[in-house]
Symmetry: C2
């Protein structure tokens, strides 16, 4: 079977006169939609990511599968799943001849059977968990750091994080690991998958000395600037080695900014409502950039008419607009309005390599390549889950809330606020409010901040909800619940491990 | 005197082998900081303005002089002042040989003595007031539209605005006026000043048929898209005529988005607090772009260290960062952190032409050319006025509120809300709260949304407020109050005219 897949792949790439593309996934931790200049951060301190966007494609409507670090993993998650029965992307890529490396945080437990090298990865530098702590006694030891099978130290002991100054050298170490791995793979002419899951923007945030105090945004901004600088160096390295046109790079984050830690230890979700842990846009809409020089076409802008669901009409798809002159076209950001999900990266990566997704299970992710390479828009809903509850659904530009909840009155009364400074009456509720019979409906184009629910009596509400109800019913009829896993970013769980 | 000025100008331009640059000021009405893609609007529907930014320079910290349409005009206002004693920019430019045209809204009254052609303009197409209405009887007639001295019709009668569909052809008319004027001036080789003050984004918002339904953002977005398209055509026209390198273009807005009209008739202030009529960032921070091909240097990014006031250190000014390769540098947005004000456009325009500001009066505006051409940062405070009350002051990255007020309880209880969905305890107050003895202090870098006041007891608060107090005292000691004028965008005033 593996031989047959390999043979097919060779055939495909031989015919196309190109090597299979490398895949680099840059996954941020708790970075928000509003933390990048290209997404409107008012200090504009991410020139490298903005440059990446201007050379690639910006996804404006890209979602995480869960507003927390480690959701109830389902098979299609990019590196999710610790059950042996689940198939991870690196396992499939390995069969296709790829060398796979994970740098940074492995969300899926630290017992031997959960080790990433048992799940398709060939190399690992990083830790099985979040870096917060420190835990300095034997009952609650500090988080270990691994190189492949070997534990090489612990955070706060061998890998310093100064909680007072915020100084830590970790992002530089992760950067060097990435550059070295890319160099090694290029030298050996072997295709690779690099999963760079770094955590400098997860509280307690950190940056190395060179970046401390360089951001207008304080320590959190320093961490973002160091990440921005590092990603610039990774892309430049790919270009210098001459493999940028054969390397597909995707940047995104695992959930919205943690507003409970803002402003000094948390990021920004821009104008979106609330943050991490909620199913409002601030909790689940992520910055996302695809980069693949020579493959993503010249910039285009919207020339669409919208139908009653706020979807661009089929025959009026975004077409390139010629501005000034062709030579200047590349100054215009290429943006995609495709509704995307982190789950799509599994299917998209397989598609890049020429592999089919496993046929023995349901795969929720879609292949984003038509959106990236041809500017197509694929009609698909987005479901917003909190735990196992479907809280909301997005269809076209409309989002219907079946449940609303920010956080509990008990937490709120202690000063914990998932929506600081924001208060939308009947929406940012502190009790779990069910709206299943009469969902709250928002138009995210006119109202990205989810501030103005549509009137229940309006024709717009009635017409849109009729169509959304069908989508939700179909979803509930066909859904296969995943096996919930521990949320290993939860302090209580970590301490109990 | 005029002859001497002219002679000096000729000398200056003869020596520099260049004609004096044309000046184009594009002033939007009620457009918010968050309405442009380059400033983070989530639908990214302004490719022309984003292109303008990528070819020019983006000002991230640019302020209006008042959160309302027509403030208490002081002499330095760009086109403000209806007192004959006040000197307007076009009067000075006219003496330097410029032809001056105003297209759109003239804020300063419609009686003959207030006519723009009595205040330095050579041509006018537009109206003396806002377009709202209609007023269909003799007691409250519709707003007239003028061509130069002649009234050529009235809104809603001769210049249609369909309040049901939002269709109106006005932006297309204003665009054609601008293109024709530019062509005429280019043909006659005469320098020009064009003041393009259009109002499609002021409620009731409108767009022409071609743009209706093309925005994800509804009618307001349609208006923005038509303006974006028009500005693209103006810039392209300058390029086609070969005069773009000799034309300085500046884009900004007169106040923040009117959130009371949002989401269908009002724009967005992004992540900033509240909107028009308030002195929070949402009321007064404006989108701003300078464009002058061939004069604004290649993109740079911040490499600064910040002092205790959050000002970039003199010896650590922003320096260009080389990304990838020199040929790709122009993909990086050039941004300026210079604190700017619409009042600076008076001084800056004079500086462009080589004129000195009048010496017989106090000029608050500064010359922005060093910021635009050399990337310099000039230390200066920003004062936030509401009427004649100094509500707040910004020094470096810090903003101190001496008074807080959103709107009155009486208005609020009727559903009028200047801060919809936002509620920052003790900040967005519905009574006028004085904090002069202990101002509320925010760090706008870490907290652009003014959500987290600094602790009064902190060293940071104490140190910063000591320095801000000195700035405020100096301001109060030297301020010359302007003569308050009518706010002609106020319905009550208009109706009473
Ligand atoms: Ca996370
Ligand atoms: Ca206005």
């Amino acid at each position: 079977m593996a031989r047959a897949v390999l043979a097919l792949l060779w055939l495909r790439w031989a015919l196309s006169c190109a090597a299979p593309p490398n895949v680099v996934l840059l996954l941020m931790d708790d970075m928000g939609w509003g933390d990048l200049g290209a997404f409107g951060e008012p200090s504009k301190e991410t020139p490298n990511l903005d440059q990446m966007a201007s050379e690639g494609m910006l996804f404006l409507d890209f979602y995480t599968a869960s507003p927390l670090c480690s959701p109830s993993y389902t098979p299609q998650d990019i590196v999710g799943g610790i059950q042996d029965s689940e198939i991870l992307l690196p396992e499939l890529l390995k069969k296709a001849g790829y060398t796979n490396k994970i740098i940074g945080k492995w969300h899926l437990g630290h017992r031997p059977q959960f080790h990433p090298l048992k799940h398709g990865f060939d190399e690992w530098f990083g830790s099985p968990n979040c870096h917060f702590g420190p835990y300095d006694n034997r009952a609650h030891p500090n988080i270990p750091v691994y190189r492949d099978w070997e534990m090489i130290g612990r955070y706060y002991e061998d890998f310093k994080i100064d909680l007072k100054t915020g100084e830590a050298n970790l992002t530089q170490i992760y950067l060097q690991e990435a550059l070295d791995f890319i160099s090694k793979q290029q030298a050996s002419q072997q295709p690779f998958f690099l999963y760079w899951a770094i955590d400098a923007t997860h509280a307690p945030v950190y940056a190395s000395k060179h970046f401390l105090g360089t951001s207008q945004r304080g320590l959190y901004g320093d961490a973002v600037r160091e990440i921005d600088d590092s990603i610039g160096k990774i892309l430049k390295h790919l270009q210098k080695l001459g493999i940028s046109e054969n390397t597909f790079v995707f940047f995104t984050s695992d959930n919205g900014a943690a507003l409970i830690s803002a402003p000094k230890q948390g990021g920004s979700n821009g104008r979106f409502l609330c943050g991490k842990q909620t199913t409002f846009e601030g909790g689940m809409r992520e910055p996302a950039i695809a980069w693949w020089p020579g493959h993503i076409p010249a910039g285009g802008s919207l020339r669409a008419k919208y139908n009653s669901l706020g979807q661009a009409e089929e025959n009026m798809r975004p077409k390139p607009t010629v501005l000034f002159s062709v030579s200047k076209l590349n100054n215009v950001l290429k943006v995609s309005r495709q509704l995307g999900s982190v789950m799509d990266l599994f299917t998209t990566s397989l598609s890049l390599v020429g592999l089919q997704p496993p046929s023995d299970r349901q795969i929720d992710g879609i292949d984003l390549l038509p959106a990236i390479l041809q500017g197509k828009l694929i009609d698909r809903p987005i479901f917003y889950y909190r735990g196992n509850e479907m809280m909301a659904v997005r269809v076209g530009l409309y989002k219907a809330h079946y449940w609303t909840w920010s956080n509990s009155w008990e937490e709120y009364s202690k000063g914990i606020d998932f929506c600081p400074g924001q208060n939308v009456s009947g929406v940012t509720t502190h009790s779990q409010e069910e709206h299943s019979t009469l969902p709250l409906l928002f138009h995210l184009g006119r109202d990205p901040g989810e501030k103005y629910p549509l009137s229940f009596a309006s024709d717009e509400y009635q017409g849109v909800m009729r169509r959304i109800s069908v989508v939700v019913q179909q979803h509930k009829d066909t859904m296969v619940p995943g096996v919930p896993q521990l949320n290993v970013c939860d302090k209580a769980v970590m301490v109990s491990c």
